[in-house]
Symmetry: C2
Subunit: 564 residues, 2 copies
């Protein structure tokens, strides 16, 4: 929806925001329990959250999508719109979404706060430093890195193998020059030279730990469990062995508290955490979701990428580990994206093409079928774009309904809550119906390799999953060390069910090669990498940073301008 970006920021700036205290009051958060960051952002105090234990939980609704295409699907926009829609029909609703990464905003990516009349505000602050959570993660991550090299410098009592340090450094910037570096040059006072590198902050395991932690104690446990290096005998060295877990937790104590903001229609919005959706699980924090469920009757949340990656991880990692029970899934599709899945090039999306829509619906159908395997009712949201024709929309509806899933056209982007009332009513009804019988797709006790195969075959519809024998040996080793009960976190392209980003639609019979496995012992999952995964983006030839600057008027509010 890049052509609409100028409008998005204009709408966001024109928004009549209510004081954040008023938004907090809607959920019963008052006084010192709501920690303000400016007049339109706040954190919910950890003490208040601890006191919510035992409260009746609201209904949990996941918004996911078909495989993303350059045409845009509008998953966050629909999450925001549905939250507003539920509020508009008189429900006590809240939304939960991820925080935006700072780095990519100066490259080419737009914001992550929805669009049109379904946005979360303050959009610009959310795309800049927001409440500083990601900076805190950067600081905690790099403190640990410094403590590793410092430990080695002063004698290396833990016998860390310099060649087997797996803890890199992080920065929230797109900087390809930092992907592969040699540190510790310059002689004895600067320590031992070794190979290293930087990832972008959202790729930090600290981010994943923060997003899966139940409270500060759990966070400290997870941080301590993280593996930072191996000894010559290949036994792991944990962050706890370096005594870094306490200081890291102190650095993260504010960041762990969920952030509260509002939609354009003043619906409470928790925006908290933002782990990568490939090497991590791609969902907002457990703290935010659980807090929202304790305070609202309906909580709408989202997961990264399409349903094959995002929803699967939401179910198999986040819900499994946090004990969440989703009541309904909303699967977002657009006519344009379905056309692309039906073989139309982006440049040719202009005219009506019902046949292409029908062909592309195979992608939608596959996701409906997949999502049902988790035991949760599925509703399709057709996110309306200006050029969509009636016949095209009708084709999507007919396709979904033929597969037993109701589909609703939603105009929240253009109309806000009144464009999505029908979907809101149906989702509330379905969620209230207690029809969901949620279960992860594999049990904890299944061996790691079988878990990978299960996801690849049942979700990606692969024929075969391959891996080098050393990868299988590594998985066996981790099982011996007690990590066999962890879920797997699949890292593959988001554009296709297969590992080939060009295979759109609903491919099957393909092969999924597992190239590498990584253990995130603190976050609590085993990452299976099936393709090239970039953990430090670069800037494009003409970075957005070149045009981002203060308004000519030098306004003290709404200074930055992300439109381009």
């Amino acid at each position: 929806m890049s052509s609409k970006m100028t409008t998005d920021i204009e709408i966001a700036r024109a928004a009549e925001k209510r004081p954040i205290q008023e938004i907090g009051e809607k959920l019963g958060i008052t006084g010192t329990d709501l920690i303000p960051y400016g007049h339109d952002k706040a954190k919910v105090s950890a003490g208040f959250i601890a006191g919510l234990k035992g409260r009746k939980q609201g209904r949990l609704i996941l918004v996911t999508a078909i495989n993303p295409t350059p045409a845009g699907e509008g998953k966050t926009t629909t999450t925001v719109g549905l939250g507003d829609g539920l509020a508009a029909i008189g429900k006590k609703a809240a939304i939960c979404i991820r925080e935006a990464s700072l780095g990519p905003n100066f490259g080419m990516k737009g914001g992550a706060a929805g669009g049109g009349y379904a946005q979360v505000v303050p959009m610009e602050e959310m795309n800049l430093h927001f409440t500083g959570d990601f900076h805190a993660i950067t600081a905690a991550h790099n403190l640990l890195a410094a403590m590793i090299d410092n430990h080695i410098h002063w004698g290396n009592a833990l016998d860390i193998d310099l060649r087997r340090i797996v803890w890199r450094r992080v920065l929230d910037v797109n900087d390809r020059a930092l992907r592969d570096v040699v540190t510790g040059l310059g002689g004895v006072p600067n320590g031992f030279p070794r190979q290293g590198g930087f990832d972008i902050t959202v790729a930090s395991e600290v981010m994943a730990c923060l997003c899966l932690a139940d409270d500060l104690t759990d966070l400290q446990q997870r941080l301590g469990d993280m593996i930072v290096a191996y000894r010559r005998d290949k036994t792991p060295v944990h962050a706890r062995d370096l005594k870094a877990d306490g200081a890291m937790t102190v650095l993260l104590k504010d960041a762990l508290q969920p952030n509260l903001v509002q939609t354009l229609e003043h619906t409470p919005a928790f925006v908290h955490g933002g782990p990568f959706a490939n090497i991590a699980h791609g969902c907002n924090s457990v703290m935010a979701t659980k807090t929202a469920l304790s305070l609202a009757d309906y909580v709408v949340t989202e997961a990264g990428f399409g349903a094959d990656l995002g929803a699967e991880k939401f179910f198999d990692i986040k819900c499994r580990k946090a004990g969440l029970h989703p009541d309904c899934v909303v699967l977002v599709a657009t006519v344009r994206a379905l056309k692309m899945n039906g073989g139309v090039a982006r440049a040719d999306l202009g005219g009506e093409d019902v046949a292409a829509v029908k062909k592309g619906c195979a992608n939608l159908g596959r996701h409906i079928e997949n999502l049902r395997q988790f035991g949760v009712p599925v509703v399709v949201a057709i996110n309306h774009f200006a050029g969509d024709t009636e016949a095209e929309v009708a084709a999507v509806k007919a396709y979904a309904e033929a597969r037993g899933a109701e589909a609703h056209l939603c105009r929240h982007w253009a109309e806000g809550s009144k464009g999505i009332t029908k979907l809101a009513e149906r989702v509330a009804h379905i969620a209230d119906g207690d029809a969901a019988q949620f279960a992860p797709i594999y049990p904890d006790e299944m061996p790691l390799w079988e878990k990978i195969e299960t996801v690849a075959k049942r979700i990606y519809h692969a024929e075969e999953v391959t891996a080098d024998p050393r990868i299988l040996a590594q998985l066996a080793e981790w099982e011996k060390q007690g990590f066999g009960n962890l879920p797997v976190c699949m890292a593959k392209t988001q554009y296709s069910f297969s590992t080939d980003p060009k295979k759109l639609g609903a491919p099957s019979g393909h092969m999924v090669p597992v190239r590498e496995v990584r253990l995130s012992a603190g976050a609590g999952f085993v990452v299976a990498i099936c393709g090239d995964i970039m953990t430090m983006p670069g800037l494009p030839r003409v970075p957005a940073a070149e045009t981002i600057r203060l308004n000519d008027a030098g306004e003290s509010r709404g200074c930055s301008d992300f439109s381009r």
Copy 2:
């Protein structure tokens, strides 16, 4: 005062803080002009500050000190105490101090918020992320670094000489392994390999620019002026040439707004900015000082290190450039530090030793004499320590008074404002007397080398200043380029008037070797480096980080424990 640290944090935690809105009201900052960060921290909006132009300005009082020793002088403590003392005698007072750097807190350095009953709170937040200013500086600095390498990667239209990139990266962490690195390894997609390195964030020129900027427009101008590299023909490449100045300013728009907190006695305290006191000027922001001067009748501020470095730069860089007119200088000394200047080792500070005190007073005398050269009245504050004897204190008083400077014993550390009433009364009286005839020690038009010589000879009492001919040639080159009117920023050891940290007291006849000169074209000064200056600290053998953790009780307030 390390033995008292436990007490400091206990006092800080037990403090009955007032809501920050109440502190703002004392200065007439209300409603949306005060931007809260939690309940006890706030920023003052840039819009409000812009509206203060033309207001009557308060009296400006600088707190500086004799040369620092491990015995401790208590400059910040005295700044805080004097602010409280002025408030206690009915004056409308505010203090202005620097923000603490995060990195060193996990090494060995204690906080920078005063001590005993003369502290600024919330102490722990100030020693952690505070309001995120330093993180914003880190982000802006590293965005520029990424844009440099990105520019080269995509064709290097500016013809940057890879060997002459002077813009390093920064992180707010003590990490010696990052001092010297090679970046851009890993092949074509990662750019060109080259030597680089990281400094700690407070050493960033962005920090110095932020602290000297008058407003956002001035900040953007300064950022654009910064030199990041040179071409093969040795002409400079500026941040503006990379079009980085706009995005950097957007990243810094919140950080430029001064932070407001309170002392234990609820005196308004601006805590904003914290440039290095060696390669930069070591003072809190001009924005904070000017805002305070527009809102309070008396503003007490401090400068880094001893008066030879801190006060000289405060006068010759900050006051000169910001058009400030200090009314009085308070020179802090302690009996213990004077004894060390008199030749006593730290371990032998226990018993009374009037002779050593008298001998060490030479250091005090030199500073009194130096400060008078700037035309500002000097008052000596003897910061009382428990073991000081009456005879020792009397010796200091007699020495100062014989040189025409009144000296007052201050017990603010133990007693708060009532321990410093006398000093407060005298300082207010002197400041109100309009006796100050402030002038920098050298004029703008003096050639750069002569400026360096002037400071070295008149302040350090050096016999001779030496430099390699290529340094003189570099200075001449900069003068030709139009930088000759800049002030100089001396980087030398803080422990001695000389460049030998072991020469305590009042050495003279020494030689000052200028090893290197650097141009901070955005901040607006030429740095003369006279000795080894470390811009990225390392962690000690047993870093403080190993013992910093949450309280056993897991308290949601006062979690961290910096005492050790």
